[in-house]
Amino acid sequence: MGAAHPLRNRIKVERARHDLTQEQLADLVGVTRKTINTVETGKFVPSTVLALKLARALHTRVEELFYLADEE
């Protein structure tokens, strides 16, 4: 399931829309900059709590920020 439907995200796009750096977004949600980087690149799958925090910080909905590869 996980391998067949890898999680994709639009964090980089939303971050650029809000003119936020990885460091600034990390400060907003209370994680390290590297965590934002690894979530953006799909290397780390965030918890539900972190996904909700990211969505809130970027003024969007979780399902708009994260989606499965087969939904592209």
Binding site: V31, T32, K34, T35, N37, V39, F44
Partner: protein
């Protein structure tokens, strides 16, 4: 704000480097004492004693610097641990366990080594594999 963030980034890098140096030096130090135990003879060879001393002199200040950097980061309100660092730690621990088991393999093939040396090699291997795994899992795109 920007200068504080830059200072935090520098301190974080210092923390990472100091922790790496401590782990590597501690592993070398343990391996040196383990090698000496395995020799089972009185006195240390000069070169091995030199390795032991240098690694000791490197490990102790590195640990102190790492502790200082971590305290400084926390004082500045920087996030030191989050769910990804916990995940990285757990995966690195699993890798270290595999490394520890791999180090025991020679003892199943009648390689005679004093138990003190075996214990030190085991801990040294755990440190090396943990550090390597941590570096690998922490890599960025």
């Amino acid at each position: 704000m920007a200068s504080a963030s830059l200072a935090s980034a520098r301190t974080r890098r210092l923390f990472d480097v100091a922790l790496f140096v401590w782990g590597a030096a501690a592993a070398v130090n343990l391996a040196a004492t383990g090698a000496n135990d395995a020799r089972q003879s009185a006195g240390w060879p000069y070169w091995l004693e030199l390795v032991y001393l240098c690694s000791f002199l490197l490990a102790v200040p590195a640990l102190a610097v790492a502790a200082w950097a971590k305290r400084r980061l926390k004082r500045h309100g920087a996030v030191v641990e989050d769910e990804r660092t916990v995940d990285t730690h757990l995966r690195s621990l699993a890798a270290a366990l595999a490394g520890v088991l791999a180090v025991q393999l020679p003892y199943f093939f009648q390689v005679e080594t004093p138990s003190a040396a075996q214990a030190k090699f085991t801990v040294a291997a755990a440190l090396v594999v943990y550090g390597a795994a941590r570096l690998w899992f922490n890599r960025e795109a």
